[in-house]
């Protein structure tokens, strides 16, 4: 990945969030190991996030996955400080969001972040175009420039011809395209997506995921994507962090998570995953012994594709090549297929 100048990484450090009238009083107790249940039952405070440490590289899609109540929506709201942390740091680029004053925070939100919401949160009294310009209007850009940018993104998300419609006249999927266009028009280096596609039908959700992945190839923003759906997480995420009860239980690439689930909780999730579409040939490649045999398979190809290519050309051996086409390892169809079908058990993965 080539580092571009506008790609800004996000680093969340030692972040705690306790909800309640007097959260500071319980920080030390929580650090000392007080459980969420005890804090809730005895002290009437809710532990939202506990010791979160995530490094999100610039220009990639970081997925934060968790079930409802895991704290994932709370976490994403710390990045643009719609929620204040109890303690901790949120470093974006070189600045700590937590230390910003009101003005700095407002400027930060205007220029560095844009957000897409689960329930769309469009302005119902404004047309699609007027919604899309919102971020730039707030920044005080000339109207022509606002509309020029907005029209470009409206076209890009496939809403041509709907500029003058009100959100209520559009379907859910189209409303979320407006939400996406509004966020992209803002042209901020960080895109925060809070369960952006969760309210959509499965087919439309797939469609929107494709739109996002296509866009990401050209815009290379730092995307933080919240979801409760593992398939969505695996499809979109360059890196995935899994939250449970306000704690990060595992983080890493999708392959790391599918191949080495950290505990029973995660392996119960990944058992249902279509491994052939997630794991790449690099995970089952063997060192080259002698001359490269059979056909060439590019590094990074997922197992399903590799298996199809190999069976189509009726060969049981292949070799993996790196970006420059140099052979780096040997591939046996037997290993490919066994990696695709083996159910992952926590015990096996640990062994």
């Amino acid at each position: 990945m080539v580092e571009q100048s506008e790609e800004i990484g996000i680093s969340v450090r030692n972040l705690y969030k306790i909800f309640g009238p007097n959260p500071e009083a319980y920080i030390d107790a929580v650090k000392g190991g007080m459980s969420k249940t005890e804090l809730n039952d005895k002290h009437n405070h809710v532990l939202g996030l506990k010791d979160i440490n995530i490094d999100m590289p610039g220009g990639g899609i970081q997925v934060v996955m968790g079930l409802s109540g895991s704290g994932k929506s709370t976490l994403i709201r710390h990045i643009n400080r719609l929620i204040d942390p109890t303690i901790g740091e949120v470093i974006v680029g070189d600045d700590d969001v937590v230390k910003m004053n009101e003005n700095e925070l407002r400027e930060f939100r205007r220029h560095k972040t844009a957000m897409v919401f689960q329930k769309f949160a469009l302005l119902p009294h404004r047309t699609v175009l007027e919604n899309a310009v919102y971020g730039l209007e707030i920044q005080g850009l000339p109207r022509e420039e606002q509309e020029k940018q907005a029209r470009r993104w409206i076209t890009r998300v496939g809403l041509d011809g709907f500029e003058d419609n009100f959100p209520n006249q559009l379907s859910g999927g189209m409303q979320q395209r407006v939400g996406l266009a509004r966020a992209l028009t803002n042209d901020a280096p960080i895109l925060l997506m809070d369960e952006a596609f969760s309210a959509l039908d499965p087919l439309i959700r797939m469609d929107m995921q494709t739109v996002l992945l296509d866009l990401q190839k050209e815009i290379r923003k730092t995307v933080v994507f919240i979801t409760h759906d593992l398939d969505e997480a695996l499809r979109l995420g360059d890196r995935i962090a899994i939250l449970r009860d306000g704690e990060v239980v595992q983080q890493g690439t999708k392959q790391e998570i599918v191949l080495h689930p950290a505990d029973e909780y995660i392996s119960s999730f990944v058992r249902e995953v279509n491994r052939g579409r997630v794991i790449s040939v690099d995970m089952v490649v063997k060192p080259l012994s002698g001359e490269p045999q059979g056909m060439a398979v590019k590094s990074g190809t997922v197992l399903e594709v590799a298996a199809k290519k190999m069976t189509d050309s009726n060969t049981s051996m292949a070799h993996v090549t790196d970006a420059s086409g140099k052979p780096v390892g040997a591939l046996d169809i037997h290993d490919v297929i066994s990696a695709m079908v083996t159910p992952v058990d926590h015990e096996d993965a640990a062994a």
């Binding site: 407002r106 939100r109 919401f117 949160a121 302005l123 119902p124 009294h125 209520n168």
Partner: protein, 295 residues
């Protein structure tokens, strides 16, 4: 056992002394400050006078045309526009034109003042729970206090006439606009507000772009209520020298002129319906974007 049957009230001398002290205090206050209030209210008096002049001394066909145009622009409904013309023609035919124009002038000016004063108060109330906690009981008192009682301090402070009447009407009619502005702002969808914040809206941008437009239909309902209350109070205010349709009603009560009372009463009903239908239709048109729903 007398004290069980008769309530052991404060003794008469002390009660009288109390009332006297308060009255005297207020009277001294009005003597000291009455002139100042009158000067301060001079622009209001001027505005009131100009509106009344405009309505009473313009040719009646022009006035009817103007009302019809306003009704059309607000409602875009031929039915309502036609209703406005018919009502005004009937009022004129039954020789209540001048009184009706005076009443309309008073109602319009009182409503405008109530909106100018009431909406900012409602906004403050919508933004702060503390202000709401303080204002709510005051508004409760204002809405339940018998309307005649409003007249007393106003007369003491400003004497009788148009302007004191106007102030009494405005004070009586202001609670709904304050309450419904507050309600409208509090009902704005939290998700949309969060989105406005996430894009870095300042407080003013939040108010201007999100809270006010989304609260507007509710605020319009408040304006409608305020107009109705102002019309009701205009009649009561005739007791302190406000001219218009209230005066003949007052005369009809004291002399038992049944028909006079009914005619003027019906004229008030007529303009109430005009205001009500027009402002409601306008409020509905503001919500046009909510009507067409994706199927």
């Amino acid at each position: 056992m007398d004290w069980l049957i008769e309530f052991p009230a404060m003794d008469t001398d002390r009660l009288t002394a109390l009332k006297k002290t308060i009255d005297l205090g207020f009277r001294n206050f009005t003597r000291a400050n009455g002139d100042m209030f009158e000067t301060a209210l001079y622009p209001v008096q001027w505005f009131m006078y100009r509106v009344e002049q405009l309505l009473t001394s313009s040719p009646w066909p022009l006035v009817i045309l103007a009302f019809a145009v306003i009704a059309w622009l607000a409602s875009r409904s031929p039915k309502i526009t036609f209703g406005v013309i018919i009502t005004l023609l009937l009022i004129g035919y039954f020789d209540m034109w001048e009184d009706t124009m005076k009443t309309i002038a008073m109602t319009v000016v009182a409503t405008i003042l109530a909106i100018i004063v009431g909406i900012p108060i409602g906004i403050l109330m919508g933004r702060s729970n503390k202000i709401q906690a303080v204002l709510n009981p005051i508004l409760d008192v204002m809405q339940t206090m018998p309307s005649f009682v409003y007249l007393i301090p106003v007369v003491m402070l400003l004497g009788i006439g148009r302007v004191p009447g106007l102030i009494a009407v405005m004070v009586y009619a202001i609670p709904p606009i304050i309450r419904l502005t507050n309600l409208g702002i509090r009902l704005v969808d939290k998700d949309v507000l969060e989105a406005a914040d996430a894009f870095g809206s300042s407080n003013w941008q939040r108010l201007k772009n999100v809270q006010m437009p989304l609260a507007l239909p509710t605020i319009m309902a408040g304006v409608n209520q305020t107009i109705m209350m102002a019309l009701a109070m205009v009649v009561v205010a005739s007791m302190i020298g406000v001219q218009g349709l209230g005066l003949p009603v007052l005369k009809a009560i004291s002399n038992q002129y049944f028909t006079l009372g009914i005619f003027n009463g019906l004229a008030i009903v007529g303009i109430a319906i005009i205001f009500d239908r027009t402002s409601q239709a306008y409020g509905k048109r503001l919500q046009k974007h909510l009507e067409v729903v994706h199927g």
